[in-house]
């Protein structure tokens, strides 16, 4: 159903807002990749540096180094102290932050369009941090506080435990924050060696979105980053883990609820079936999903869902729920029952269509603001090598069908043993 608005029909209006953007992708002579999305309809701009390094690249004796390094990147450069970095970012009113995950570190800022160059100049300077030795021990204390904070969070404990179990033979097993013992033992020089390799320009991607002139932007990016020296050896190649099957419990008596998780292997990021995997997760465990009506609305769990934990070479479908300890078995049985039902009977066509409809609105929401675009561009460039225009993403959503769901579930079963992990006060499963 379409209604006319002035001279354009709704699909055309929607299309023009979302497809007025265009991408420019360049590689500088030092191998730094620059991706720019030109968004003519916005008043703000966002940009950031993606370092293709995360917890899975930490050497075991340096578990937590990627994350600690993320903190140290704010602590000083040849041109700025930490105080100057902080002041300059606030002088432009930037909304900024950074995060480290298992496979990446991302430093970003969201500013008024006119402040973009200054934002990127500060971040670029930070990418050549001197990792000041006199700030190292102070920041170590902050990391230890962050570990303590994470230990007080049930779901953080659950997430870490799941990876510890399912990826036991790989670096994906250890937590992003590291361990108290590895952080306490870490030295600035050990970190610097890691930094010098992993933050080589060839392992970085600069992503920018906003109402910018790409030629002008590339010109000042070249000025800011063109002199960086590439390093040929950025470290060991990543190895995908073998997804374990089995079960494990971590008993943490100080919590009230239990987290129950079931994990199965899934499609890696960038795989042609990725959108189908997301649809399966949404049908099972999104809002208005089977889990919601058949588990939450039966009072078995306060919150339950399904997410895809995706990397370039490996992925998990994780079904999870939080419940009162006496409901662990019921929650587990209900999750398995819903998975079996979906596999045996397939999705209803209207379920698939609803997820597609919500994805379409989500794409429109994302298209509004440069900040929202950054995350998707980063995923596309990191996992697919290039950003995808919205038509391509809409086409990928539209291509999902009962047939692709059936094919996905054949290739990546969500029944069978999987890995059952449980964290909380209850010693379940025994």
């Amino acid at each position: 159903m379409h209604r006319s608005l002035g001279k354009k029909t709704l699909p055309e209006l929607e299309k023009s807002f979302m497809t007025d953007t265009r991408f420019v992708q360049e590689k500088l002579s030092n191998d730094l990749t620059v991706v720019i999305e030109v968004m003519p309809h916005v008043k703000s701009a966002a940009g950031g540096f993606l370092a293709r390094t995360g917890a899975r690249d930490d050497p075991s004796e340096l578990a937590g180094v990627s994350h600690f390094l993320e903190h140290m990147m704010f602590k000083g450069t040849a041109h700025r102290t930490w105080r100057q970095i902080n002041i300059e970012l606030d002088e432009i009113g930037s909304y900024y932050n950074a995060y480290t995950s298992k496979d990446r570190t991302f430093y970003y800022g969201w500013v008024r369009t006119g402040d973009l160059e200054r934002q990127i100049a500060i971040l670029a300077d930070m990418m050549r941090s001197t990792l000041p030795a006199d700030e190292f021990d102070m920041e170590k204390n902050v990391i230890l506080e962050e570990i303590a904070m994470s230990n007080d969070d049930l779901e953080s404990n659950a997430y870490d435990f799941l990876h510890e179990c399912v990826c036991a033979d790989s670096s994906l097993a250890w937590p992003v924050l590291g361990y108290e013992r590895t952080i306490k033992a870490m030295t600035r020089d050990g970190m610097h060696d890691y930094f010098a390799r992993r933050y080589s320009p060839g392992n970085l991607i600069l992503v920018i979105a906003g109402n910018v002139d790409p030629d002008e932007t590339l010109s000042w990016v070249n000025r800011l980053c063109g002199s960086w020296t590439p390093v040929t050896d950025i470290g060991s190649a990543r190895r995908a883990p073998l997804v374990k099957q089995g079960k494990a419990v971590r008993r943490l008596g100080r919590f009230h609820q239990q987290v129950v998780m079931l994990a199965f292997a899934s499609v890696p990021a960038g795989h042609p079936m990725e959108e189908t995997a997301q649809v399966v997760a949404a049908i099972l465990g999104g809002s208005n999903s089977r889990f919601y009506w058949n588990i939450v609305q039966k009072g078995i769990s306060t919150r339950t869902g399904v997410f895809q934990e995706q990397y370039a070479d490996f992925s998990l479908t994780v079904m999870y729920g939080l419940c009162e300890p006496e409901n662990c078995a019921s929650l587990h049985d209900a999750m398995r029952r819903e998975a079996v039902e979906l596999v045996e009977k397939g999705p209803r066509p209207e379920e698939i269509q609803r997820v597609k409809n919500l994805r379409r609105t989500a794409l429109a929401t994302e298209s509004e603001a440069p900040f929202y675009r950054l995350g998707q561009i980063v995923d596309d460039v990191d996992y697919r090598g290039a950003p995808r225009p919205v038509e391509e993403r809409l086409a990928a959503v539209d291509a999902v069908s009962a047939e692709t769901v059936a094919e996905y579930l054949r290739m990546f079963p969500i029944t069978g043993e999987g890995f059952l992990a449980s964290v909380g006060p209850c010693d379940w499963p025994q």
Binding site: L10, E14, K43, C323, N357
Partner: protein, 420 residues
């Protein structure tokens, strides 16, 4: 006819709704926010938590659709909808593609005006609320906040949206329906809509769908009834709650400005100086220079009849005293050594936020509704900016003198008590 300027339409509809509409030509979305004046501050003390239960149960069936069909109807349009229980209001929000605004309004009307509150859904809603109350044990930051609000704000503004286990046990379908009948009516609603829309068509749609939605038959409350009872009854105190945690939660507050005070802009700038970015006082003095915390912050909270400035941090037990002393020191020494540059940075942060958030339709709808809630009219961006940009160091010093910190309401949660 589409409004192509940024002019906001503000009016009271014949059905009683107070409406703000912000047409934003070319946006790919429409966002609608609705608030009903029937939040948890209105609850009877013996049925605390009934609003939250109502919020859960109201989406489980209407005169036309059962719960699943109702939620499917939203999803059929790709309309992302949400609900939230607040102190004074229950909020309903939705984001959709522009072509669906009329059916979305119809569906929201159905949800708000003709819920059936099925008995089984009501029972599950109560059970879930009870589980959520127990689960607060696993969220130390939220738990500390709940305990501080109870202590500092008094009744009824210091309540928690979920209620208490013993009060939830008294709630059934009867209490839920009673609350809905008493407070859910068009004259007790504020609505804001922003995005690519046809203003006259949207107004007609709301009038048509909400016409006659006022079943209170003289027994319900007008929007402003009981408002004098919703004052902040500030209680200075310190209470420590023992809990086995790796970090201690520190939370305290003192009375600040109302949203309608001239000093509210000054308070916003003060909070920005304390906690706006990484060059702010708290981040610099507590985290950067001493490494005492990962998280530290300040923020302000404005019920309509009061204001409170909050400071908080979480830290390992051996750092509790130093962290608390530093927090106090920083807010107090602002009176002596606040600089023009700090004020400028805080102002720039607030200014930039108005621009960056301005690219987000959902944020503009929410901002408009806040304007109606606090001020009874849309506030032009220029007016907001002018107030913020006029704040000076002298204003902040005057504010600090007018809002003393000699009496605080403090809560700590963890293994170590403060020695005050």
């Amino acid at each position: 006819m589409i409004q192509t300027s940024d002019r906001i339409e503000h009016r009271h509809l014949g059905c009683g709704i107070e409406l703000g509409v912000r047409p934003m030509a070319g946006r790919p979305l429409v966002a609608i926010d609705i608030r009903v004046f029937g939040g948890y501050a209105y609850e009877s003390p013996s049925h605390l938590g009934v609003t939250s239960v109502l919020e859960e149960a109201i989406t489980k069936g209407t005169a036309k659709h059962d719960g699943r069909a109702l939620n499917d109807a939203f999803d059929d349009m790709g309309a992302s909808h949400s609900t939230c229980t607040g102190r004074e209001t229950v909020a309903f929000g939705c984001v959709c593609l522009p072509e669906f605004i009329d059916p979305v309004v119809a569906l929201l009307t159905e949800l708000i005006c003709t819920p059936t509150f099925p008995e089984d859904a009501c029972q599950v809603a109560v059970e879930l609320s009870q589980q959520h109350v127990a689960a607060l044990d696993d969220e130390p930051g939220e738990l500390a906040k709940k305990l501080l609000h109870q202590q500092a704000y008094g009744e009824p503004l210091g309540r928690h949206a979920l209620g208490e286990k013993h009060t939830l046990a008294t709630i059934g379908r009867t209490q839920i329906v009673d609350h809905w009948k008493r407070y859910f009516a068009a004259p007790r609603m504020q609505v804001s809509i922003a995005g690519a829309l046809d203003v006259p068509a949207v107004i007609d749609s709301l009038e048509k769908h909400f016409e006659g939605f006022d079943h209170r038959n003289g027994t319900g409350c007008s929007r402003d009834e009981n408002r004098p009872n919703f004052c902040v009854n500030f209680t200075p105190a310190y209470r420590h709650y023992h809990k086995d945690l790796e970090q201690e939660q520190i939370a305290f507050c003192f009375p600040g400005a109302l949203a309608t005070d001239n000093d509210f802009a000054v308070e916003k700038v003060l909070v920005g100086v304390l906690s706006g970015g990484m060059s702010s006082r708290l981040f610099t003095e507590v985290r950067e220079k001493q490494g005492l915390v990962y998280w530290v912050g300040a923020w302000s909270d404005q019920p309509r009849t009061g204001g409170m400035v909050h400071l908080g941090a979480s830290t390992t037990p051996q750092n509790v005293e130093r962290t608390y002393v530093t927090l106090l020191r920083e807010i107090n020494r602002l009176a002596d050594d606040l600089t023009d540059l700090e004020v400028e940075r805080a102002i720039t942060g607030l200014e930039a936020q108005l621009v960056t958030r301005g690219d987000v339709t959902r944020a503009k709808a929410s901002e408009l509704l806040d304007d109606l809630f606090y001020y009874g009219r849309p506030i032009p961006t220029e007016e907001k900016l002018a107030k913020i940009k006029s704040v000076t160091v002298a204003d902040v010093r005057r504010y600090l003198e007018a809002h003393p910190r000699d009496k605080l309401s403090i809560v700590t949660l963890g293994t170590r008590k403060l020695s005050l």
